[in-house]
């Protein structure tokens, strides 16, 4: 049993004292920012990236992953208790979760959310362990044309499936690719877009872009919106769900997990789409759909499982192919690169401790969350009372320290300010920012693969369609574009966005 041995090896890595500690820190910080509205996992991971420089790559990845799925848990806590979705993925949880809390059943709602998420997390972890190695084996045979086509497909899919205007997403991907070009061209040594500024000869820092757009830009946008706080209305008394609750939740959790895993491996679909779909399915399947919106436990169980499964399965393309399927995964990829690890299928064979350790730590982290979340609910609720007017200056301070600690360069601080303004303007004009980050991360690699592919084929672009694997990716890219432009799907997309 290869899988079995590998998992045992992974648990050996994840259970070391240092890695357990970083896993704990990760899920704790993740839950914290999940509870707090106005700062999401993207911004937090970007701010905390510099801290991970000094630790081992395994510990760094374990902590960042913990922040990511911890945020999903935290987001649902506030959704249920105060009708305030901490993350976009828990918007759906508000509908029935808050109703349950109003009826004095906040405890069971929270418990089911946690247990459902744990189940989904376990399945997601197993899926990565099962499908990771064979996928990586296939990917090891890829040459430059295959990689280029794969990245093209990933970027197009991410842009097209993301919420909002499709053409705007694609424009942002292109803008990101352009940003990635800044710096010294590795083939000729030509300075590109560096304006004679010394700090730009190495390219724009990944963290500068991420923190600028997702922390500073986000805060500017938040300050424009109304800052009102909702008061806690429900008391959490009895945590334990009844037998009836468990029975009612079982199949929704299983279905939600399936839905989440499906959307999880698709690039560009955020956990919000997974949880929304799961809610729709449960409502359709229910014998009495009238109960939904009035505190139906299925409406909490399914979506919560779905968003956690989605979060977990997003790791599959990132770990095996080096292809980020979402903004957070682009950050993870950046973290790997910063640690000096070239992302891609070779990670699994060259750094098995990284791959299996991370997988095992995800399961441990999910377990920690169940244990951590339920007893600490009182603490999380208190945290909600920290007013945003004090929260955001603190975030600004951490952002500045984080960026400055990388190169001790005040130029990068100023550049971050610039990206904050740029990010805010883009958001207000309706441009999604995650696709830009994907383009920015993949840009330099894509250019390099394109060059190599062209050298290989003697300048003949047909190489992308004559090599079978590459042809499949190109075909899939065209298919995605055609399907999404079709009028019927377009209409449904608009309904989704609403």
């Amino acid at each position: 049993m290869d899988l079995f041995n590998n998992l045992i090896f992974g648990f050996g890595v994840a259970l070391s004292f240092q890695n357990l500690f970083y896993c704990f820190v990760g899920v704790l910080v993740g839950t914290l920012i999940g509870v707090l509205p106005g700062i999401g996992p993207l911004g937090t991971i970007a701010i905390l990236l510099p801290i991970t420089y000094s630790v081992s790559p395994v510990a760094a990845m374990i902590m960042l992953a913990g922040i990511y799925y911890g945020a999903q848990y935290g987001g649902s806590t506030t959704a249920i208790l105060v009708n305030l979705p901490g993350e976009t993925s828990s918007v759906v949880t508000c509908i029935d979760g808050y109703q349950m809390a109003q009826q004095g059943r906040a405890g069971p709602a929270l418990a089911i959310a946690a247990l459902g998420s744990f189940f989904a997390g376990t399945v997601g972890t197993l899926l990565i362990a099962l499908f990771g190695p064979p996928l990586a084996d296939v990917a090891l045979k890829f040459g430059a044309p295959e990689y280029f086509s794969l990245m093209l497909m990933g970027l197009v899919a991410a842009a097209v499936l993301a919420q909002g205007d499709m053409v705007k997403s694609i424009s942002m991907v292109v803008a990101g690719l352009l940003l990635g070009i800044v710096g010294t061209d590795i083939n000729t040594g030509t300075q590109r877009f560096s304006f004679g500024i010394f700090e730009l000869t190495d390219g724009i820092g990944f963290i500068v872009v991420a923190v600028g757009v997702f922390a500073v830009g986000e805060i500017i946008a938040n300050l424009g919106d109304n800052q009102q706080r909702r008061v806690l209305s429900a008391k959490v008394s009895n945590l334990f769900p009844t037998m009836q609750d468990l029975k009612q939740s079982f199949w929704p959790v299983v279905r939600g997990t399936g839905i989440g895993c499906f959307f999880g491996v698709l690039p560009g679909t955020g956990p919000a789409i997974a949880s929304f779909s799961s809610y729709m399915v449960e409502k359709k399947l229910a014998a009495d759909p009238d109960r939904f919106g009035k505190g139906a436990i299925e409406g909490v169980a399914g979506p919560e499982a779905a968003n956690n499964a989605d979060a977990q399965c997003k790791f599959i393309p990132m770990l095996t192919l080096g292809l980020p399927a979402s903004g957070v995964m682009a950050l993870m990829l950046g973290a790997l690169t910063i640690q000096g690890i070239q992302p891609g299928p070779q990670v699994m064979t060259q750094r098995p401790e990284l791959f299996w350790g991370l997988i095992a730590s995800m399961w441990i982290g999910n377990l920690m969350l169940v244990v951590l979340n339920l007893p600490l609910i009182g603490l999380w609720v208190k945290l909600l009372q920290v007013p945003y007017r004090l929260l955001f200056p603190a975030i600004m301070a951490f952002s500045a320290i984080g960026i400055f600690s990388v190169n001790n360069s005040s130029f990068e601080i100023h550049l971050t300010a610039l990206f904050g303004v740029f990010g805010f303007i883009c958001m207000r004009l309706g441009f999604p920012m995650a696709p830009m980050l994907l383009g920015f991360v993949l840009g330099p690699m894509m250019e390099e693969y394109l060059r190599r592919a062209m050298l290989m084929s003697g300048g003949d672009p047909s190489v992308f369609v004559t090599r079978p694997i590459s042809a499949v990716f190109i075909l899939a890219t065209i298919l995605i574009l055609v399907v999404m432009i079709a009028p019927a799907v377009r209409k449904r997309r608009e309904a989704f966005t609403d």
Binding site: V167, K168, I170, S171, V174, A175, L177, L178, I181, D185, N187, T188, T190, R192, F193, V216, I219, I220, A221, L223, G224, D225, Q227, P387, Y388, R389, L390, F392, P393, A394, M396, A397, A400, I401, F404, S405, S410, F411, I413, H414, T416, A417, L418, G420, V421, F424, I425, C426, R428, L429, G430, F431, E447, L450, R451, M454, L455, G458, G459, P461
Partner: protein, 152 residues
């Protein structure tokens, strides 16, 4: 003349993309373009810049059509100006005056971006946060910053 299009999202989106893409092509025109066999440093940026201009023109036309979506939401001008400026201030101060002045300026400065700004509360909070950061980042994690340049 009807200037209603100035309020439309897509009009401004188009302008922004055209400026970005056009700027990229303009700068990259000096880089060697090469051929598709041996792509020069100018090849990729010019193609990408061209694509951005194309998307920009598309949005510009969309924006000029009647009934296009209008700009909405607050532009939070106050935050849009104050937050980047306080970051710039941090950058200037940390090189010249040290970690403590830079942190205080950043926290107090950015706090004024909120419409619910309360002076005393923010002052106390800023001192507390700065002290925490000195303890955690400079003393515990050992980041090599001068606390107050020339003195500490």
């Amino acid at each position: 003349m009807n200037l209603e299009f100035l309020e439309r999202k897509d009009f401004w989106s188009g302008l922004m993309l055209i400026a970005l893409g056009g700027g990229a092509v303009f700068i990259a025109r000096n880089y060697q373009f090469g051929s598709s066999l041996r792509m020069g440093p100018g090849y990729f940026p010019i193609i990408l810049g061209g694509a951005l201009v194309m998307f920009g023109v598309y949005f510009l036309i969309q924006g000029l059509r009647a009934g296009a979506e209008k700009l909405e939401g607050s532009w939070s001008l106050r935050a849009l100006i104050i937050l980047p400026l306080s970051l710039v201030l941090f950058g200037l101060l940390i090189d010249r005056a040290g970690f403590i002045p830079a942190m205080l300026a950043l926290i107090i400065g950015s706090a004024t971006a909120s419409t619910q700004f309360k002076l005393v509360e923010v002052l106390v909070f800023a001192v507390f946060m700065t002290a925490m950061c000195v303890i955690v980042f400079v003393w515990a994690l050992g980041l090599p910053y001068e606390l107050i340049t020339g003195i500490w």
